[in-house]
């Protein structure tokens, strides 16, 4: 399984390491030509969404990636990646990919002093560590959006079909459950859109 990790700015190396530990093959997306070879999944990492959104457009990556994501490419967005995927950003007319039916509020917990750790169950499984760094909050979600992790009544990780997103950073905690869940969805993706042969 080839997993593209958007490597414009932020914590992309952490995702690459995790993906490699779980037996998939990560590669970095920095320019248009990085999209030439087919791949099976996409990760949009944490960082600053303003920076990533600008570079996506200026480096000619925005339209081709949006086509792929809209076309069914399994995609995981964390923190800034959630903001890139969201349909709307509260108090901000900016929309990036706009494919995940949620509205998010940027820096919803305040400045760095508001960053925190927590724990909550992933789906019906055991608790996983959650690290929120100047995190966004999902303030509303459409009916097709399923919560994967809920903290104090607010969904902090969600799934909408082939789209996965988290307000926290599963890539910097030691627990691989979240990436495992994502890779399972990548590997069971129905054939047709598949871009490389299934593993033997």
């Amino acid at each position: 399984m080839r997993i593209g990790v958007l490597a414009l700015q932020g914590a992309f190396i952490e995702h690459e390491r995790r993906i490699a530990e779980l037996g998939a093959a990560p590669f970095e997306i920095r320019e248009r030509r990085d999209l030439d070879a087919p791949f099976d999944g996409l990760i949009l990492p944490g960082g600053e969404s303003t920076v990533q959104g600008k570079l996506l457009r200026e480096l000619g990556l925005f339209a081709p990636l949006k086509r792929k994501i809209a076309g069914g490419l399994p995609t995981l967005g964390t923190c800034a990646g959630l903001i890139l995927l969201a349909r709307a950003i509260k108090d901000d007319p900016t929309v990036h990919f706009g494919l995940l039916d949620v509205t998010v509020e940027r820096n919803a917990y305040g400045r760095q002093l508001g960053s925190f750790h927590a724990e909550a169950p992933l789906t019906d499984g055991p608790s996983v560590p959650l690290t929120f760094i100047r995190a966004p909050r999902i303030v509303s979600a459409g009916p097709s959006v399923e919560p994967l992790v809920t903290l104090d009544g607010t969904p902090v990780a969600v799934r909408q079909g082939h789209l996965f997103a988290a307000a926290f950073h599963p890539e910097i905690d030691a627990n691989p459950s979240f990436h495992r869940l994502f890779l399972a969805a990548v590997s069971t993706r129905p054939v047709g859109e598949a871009s490389s042969p299934p593993p033997i």
Binding site: A7, L8, Q9, G10, A11, F12, I13, E14, R30, E31, G46, G47, E48, T50, V51, K54, L55, E58, L59, C79, A80, R106, N107, G110, R111, Q112, L113, S115, F116, H117, T131, I133, R134, H169, I172
Partner: protein, 290 residues
């Protein structure tokens, strides 16, 4: 504190691959954010002007910093003097995202740095070599940057510091486990930090380049030498076309390994900051605080 320290190191991880720009007004902050800065450093005077003005350089007016915090959505950093923990307390009180305990300002303590473990907000500190970096980390710094000579537009010192740090990291990594105690003594740092460097071949925190970066090629150079991101101070707002130069440096940091991209963004940037050679300056700020 451990929990907080982890969160503070994590914020630096989110800044990686990005450019942190010095700004002196809300308007400059907005230009920097629009150009793709991943954070801004709020200060009253950029280093080139601090150097020109002479005298004692202190923490900026909190009101001025708050104006910049209100203007942008990205993290805002600010500088305090080396050892001036009361200035750091003020910056924490206004909920700054990162404090730079900086040699660019006049040192307040000629012997001690701030005990950064007593703060909830993160600190970035400058370092010329591995020993300095690990000493700052043992005091609680959650991020390190080179101590390239600020306000000069001359990248030579940042290069020297980054090369020195990388070469010392390689040397530590090559030592036997029983040799690490002596290395810790030589570096004047705790053994656990030396072990971390030995086992991981890197600093335990994010390491940025700072000081004298003025062009996209300067930024690409520092990234290829192992920097995880870049601070640009006087280089942007002392140049002919700040918005364009800022955006160009951001792209050069992302695609530092593709000379084609660096070439494209280097075209037509207007005048770079004039610059002063290392040998022409009176005050070597990098010699402050070791």
């Amino acid at each position: 504190m451990d929990n907080r320290y982890e969160l503070n190191k994590n914020l630096a991880q989110m800044l990686k691959g990005g450019v942190i720009m010095d700004v002196t007004t809300p308007e400059q902050a907005r230009i920097a954010e629009a150009a793709g800065a991943c954070a801004v450093m709020a200060l009253e005077r950029i280093p080139a002007d601090i150097r020109a003005a002479g005298g004692v350089a202190r923490m900026s007016d909190p009101k001025m910093i708050k104006g910049i915090q209100a203007a942008v959505s990205i993290p805002v950093m600010a500088k305090c003097r080396i050892g001036h923990f009361a200035e750091a307390q003020v910056l924490e009180a206004i909920e700054i995202d990162y404090i730079d305990e900086s040699e660019v300002l006049s040192p307040a303590d000629d012997r001690l740095h701030i005990d950064k473990t007593r703060f909830k907000v993160p600190f970035v500190c400058g370092a010329k070599d591995l020993g300095e970096a690990l000493r700052r980390i043992s005091e609680g710094a959650a991020m390190i940057r080179t101590k390239g000579e600020p306000g000069t537009g001359d990248v030579v010192q940042a290069v020297r510091h980054m090369r020195m740090m990388q070469s010392e990291i390689r040397r530590i990594a090559s030592l036997g486990a029983d040799e690490l105690y002596e290395a810790a003594k030589d570096l004047r740092v705790p053994i656990d930090l030396v072990r971390y460097v030995h086992d991981n071949r890197k600093l335990p925190v994010v390491n940025f380049a700072a000081g004298g970066v003025a062009t996209p090629a300067d930024a690409a150079l520092m990234m290829q030498l192992g920097a995880e991101g870049v601070f640009v101070g006087s280089g942007i707002f002392k140049s002919g076309n700040p918005a364009k130069r800022a955006a160009a440096i951001v792209k050069a940091v992302t695609n530092f390994n593709d000379p084609q991209v660096v070439a494209e963004v280097s075209e037509d940037l207007g005048e770079a900051m004039v610059g002063i050679n290392e040998s022409e300056i009176q005050v070597l700020m990098a010699e402050r605080g070791k």
